[in-house]
């Protein structure tokens, strides 16, 4: 059992989607996350273990490499594709409640900011960290965040921006969410964001996507 799970983790880490996928070259012709997840289910391995000991481990490893600049965005995107290829086999078990995720992150870019590459990376790595992600997209106004929090009780909120000019919107959205939902956990990130700024507005902070997973896992 553990052999299959570690193979799944390796496929996710290396971005090996399926047997047909040509990338990476040294795994050409080998089964990918898609086939191996199906095989694991067929062998009777618990879906929860496939998620937390297979797919999540692979995404954690690539997230750590990304944090240390050992790999770059294309590698993370391929890993995410492999992770989703495995995850699709687990969907029925999410719906039935047989597989539990750690919680929900509602995520979007601050009102006025249209840059979604960083936000998408965080969404993928957080989902690959075993969390459910509700992605509100770009240029998200306060009321859209509020509605999403109301429909996902107990969720955390992630706000991203690339622009210095939208940092003030990030501050306003964070303040309003904290007022409306006391105790809600908000994490922010993006190129111009610093720990000091996050502290000042009462939000969590990570410089990289993997840090967002650690923040959520810490339950702050």
């Amino acid at each position: 059992m553990s052999e299959l799970l570690s193979q799944i983790a390796t496929c996710v880490e290396r971005g090996k989607i399926s047997v047909a996928a040509p990338f990476p070259l040294d795994l050409k012709g080998a089964p990918g996350a898609d086939e191996l997840t199906a095989a694991a289910l067929a062998e009777g391995i618990a879906p929860q273990d496939i998620l937390s000991k297979g797919l999540v481990v692979g995404m954690y490893n690539v997230g750590e490499k990304f944090r240390c600049n050992k790999v770059f965005i294309p590698d993370v995107l391929m890993s995410a594709k492999a992770m989703y290829a495995g995850m699709k086999h687990l969907r029925p078990f999410f719906q039935s409640g047989q597989v539990q995720r750690k919680g929900t992150l509602v995520i979007g870019t601050a009102a006025g900011d249209l840059h979604d590459i960083g936000k998408n990376l965080v969404a993928m790595i957080v989902e690959g960290g075993g969390w459910e992600v509700v992605d509100l997209g770009v240029d998200v106004p306060l009321d859209k965040f509020v509605k999403a929090v109301e429909s996902n009780p107990g969720c955390s909120v992630g706000i991203s921006t690339l622009l210095t000019t939208t940092m003030s919107n990030m501050q306003k959205i964070t303040a309003a969410l904290k007022e409306k939902f006391p105790g809600i956990s908000v994490i922010i990130g993006g190129a111009p964001i610093t720990k000091e700024f996050a502290d000042k507005i009462g939000a969590g902070y990570s410089a990289d996507p993997q840090g967002a997973v650690s923040f959520l896992n810490s339950g702050k």
Binding site: N69, T165, P192
Partner: protein, 299 residues
């Protein structure tokens, strides 16, 4: 007018302009508004920016068309106006530049990642071809494909401009310093990878823009020059990374600080120097003076 390549091959160092985006925000552009639409709705403000760089002594002026490809304009529902907006952007800059300066019209990324498959190569090529054509129609003599991070997208932009216009083609990438002190774009591209791919695709001038201040630009230019000994190099440097000081956005590098590094940038291999985010006409005027000082020192 001689081309940029002819001029720098004859030994000249040229000065480009400074920031547009941060300048537009100073003039009242709100977050979430389409900056490029100002070429039509706030034409006199855009003209004023271009003129201020001419007055600062720039040999070439960009245009307010960075995000004016149809894939980006679609967010504002303005994709059907891509031609009109790009044409207007080039016209405004040409009006400020007059006949004897270059208009190097800005072409930024689409914001899409090709390998994600949510947009095809043809769509990206067509968007850039439409933009480059309209910029040429509006009076640009060069295009500045900039802030690129992915080889595939940048080469599509270069080819779209080369196939459809007579524009002189400049293409620059944005690099970050990694933990092991090498430079890579967020997509993992090194300065050497960039240089060979862009030249092969048909770029006439290559280089780097945005980034984290002037000192790092010198290191990046050295890497590009080591990989490519002859293609002219353009640098549009940020005035450092922006800092948020009690709600005010402050860029740390002053005109004097940036100008002081121009000689090193040129000796590293740069042929055209200018500014990106946070730089102002005062930065460009100081850089122009530094370039002038180099000429005098060499004569």
């Amino acid at each position: 007018m001689k081309t940029i390549v002819e001029t720098v091959k004859a030994g000249a160092v040229l000065v480009s302009d400074g920031a547009w985006g941060t300048f537009l925000h100073k003039k009242g552009l709100e977050p979430g508004q389409c900056p490029e639409l100002w070429c039509i709705t706030r034409r006199s403000d855009v003209l004023d920016i271009a003129r201020s760089y001419v007055a600062a002594g720039a040999d070439m002026i960009e245009s307010n068309s960075f995000g004016a490809n149809r894939l980006k304009l679609a967010h504002f529902g303005l994709d059907s106006r891509a031609k009109e907006i790009n044409r207007a952007a080039a016209e405004v800059s040409r009006e400020a530049a007059g006949p004897n300066r270059h208009v190097i019209a800005s072409m930024g990324p689409t914001g899409k990642i090709l390998m994600m498959g949510d947009v095809s190569e043809n769509e990206v090529y067509d968007a850039f071809a439409e933009q480059a054509t309209a910029l040429a129609d509006g009076g640009a003599n060069a295009c500045c494909i900039e802030t690129m991070t992915a080889i595939d997208e940048a080469c599509l932009a270069v080819r779209a401009a080369a196939d459809n216009t007579k524009l002189e083609i400049i293409a620059t990438f944005t690099f970050d310093k990694t933990m092991d002190n090498t430079y890579r774009t967020m997509m993992g591209v090194s300065p050497a990878d960039m240089a060979s791919a862009l030249v092969k695709a048909g770029a006439h001038v290559i280089g780097t823009n945005c980034g984290n201040g002037m000192e790092r630009m010198i290191e990046i230019v050295r890497e590009i020059r080591a990989a490519d000994g002859k293609t002219p190099i353009l640098v549009h440097a940020n005035a450092g990374l922006p800092e948020n000081k009690d709600g005010d956005i402050v860029f740390p590098e002053t005109p004097g600080m940036m100008a002081a590094l121009v000689p090193q940038l040129v000796s590293a291999g740069a042929n055209v120097v200018g500014g990106c985010c946070g730089t102002t006409p005062a930065h460009i005027a100081a850089m122009k003076k530094a370039v002038h000082g180099l000429i005098q020192a060499n004569s």
